[in-house]
């Protein structure tokens, strides 16, 4: 057996902090969504316009080790969704189907509490609680949106195929068929007008 001088045990390229989900390393992109970027997704437009349009509603960190669209690769991300409401409707992400609609995704709750809203292509909705340790499989052909129902940031992780892509337009045009609003201090689903 010959000692191999050329193989070093290097530090990993990425690190994740399990207490808050923060990821560090190479090729990490960050994207921020401010209230103004979410025009049209909340029901109460008057309430929407009264809020600070520059307010950050959510921010995403993502590891993209290969180019978007490459088949067989994976992306890994973390989203922080702020607490708050537009009128009585909780802050939420835009939500999307995948562009390659048969691609699945895992989400996992890290901090805070919220709801994962899911919708199939026939517009049937259902929802799962999110909390530290919740783990969610988002099947193929299912639109997904996260909603912060708590008083603190909702932080969650995600892993998805690098060729999944995002189809935001379907949700921009038609929304989800259900909205989550606060009624007497508790989240309750109502049908969506959009």
């Amino acid at each position: 057996m010959n000692k191999l001088k050329n193989i070093q045990i290097t530090n990993p390229i990425y690190n994740v902090d399990y207490l808050n989900g923060n990821i560090k390393g190479k090729s990490i992109i960050k994207s921020i969504k401010r209230l103004k970027d979410l025009a049209g997704i909340f029901e109460d437009n008057n309430a929407f316009l009264k809020l600070k349009q520059e307010e950050i509603i959510y921010s995403v960190q993502a590891i993209l080790p290969v180019d978007e669209g490459v088949e067989g690769g994976l992306f890994y991300g973390k989203t922080i969704l702020e607490p708050g409401k537009v009128g009585n409707e909780y802050f939420m992400t835009k939500g999307h189907f995948h562009k390659k609609a048969d691609r699945a995704e895992f989400y996992w709750g890290i901090l805070g509490e919220g709801v994962l809203l899911l919708m199939d292509e026939e517009r049937n909705c259902w929802a799962e609680k999110m909390f530290p340790g919740s783990l969610h499989y988002i099947n193929a052909f299912i639109a997904h949106r996260t909603i912060n129902t708590g008083d603190v940031q909702l932080s969650f992780g995600a892993c998805w195929p690098s060729d999944a892509g995002h189809n935001y337009q379907e949700i921009i045009d038609n929304g989800f068929s259900a909205r989550l609003i606060e009624v007497n201090g508790k989240p309750e689903f109502v049908s969506s007008q959009k």
Copy 2:
């Protein structure tokens, strides 16, 4: 807005314990590898045969929400690799390429300390440290094996495409080109005879 009585916020189907990586929920399979299942992968066969063949070396929990082989789905798993050595070679997993060799995978360290050994199709090896919070992207066409270099269990998580599959045979036949052995209490790579 009509209240939707038919949408309940249900508990998530899966849960993960961030302190030890344990996963709970539906469709979770468990597989155990005992020493006898790892015949031929360690260099020192005399030392191998002197150990208890029924000893558990590693166990895997995996969430398989769709059938193996389905394109577009994802699997999520957790492995616990016991501490120990066969002669001076650390306990390790069998290691594999993916059957669909262009499929990638994420690993993340949860507990303990170890090494992720990586090898390309030209048999070039390199390695990354594993520890709680280490996050590893295993690119397409890269064989991967984990090695426990510590005194406690090495626990790590994984997410991979449901159509990746496993090609164990290449490693059974030819091994990795490097082995990690303990020299003066420290891990050191040596070239493999196999």
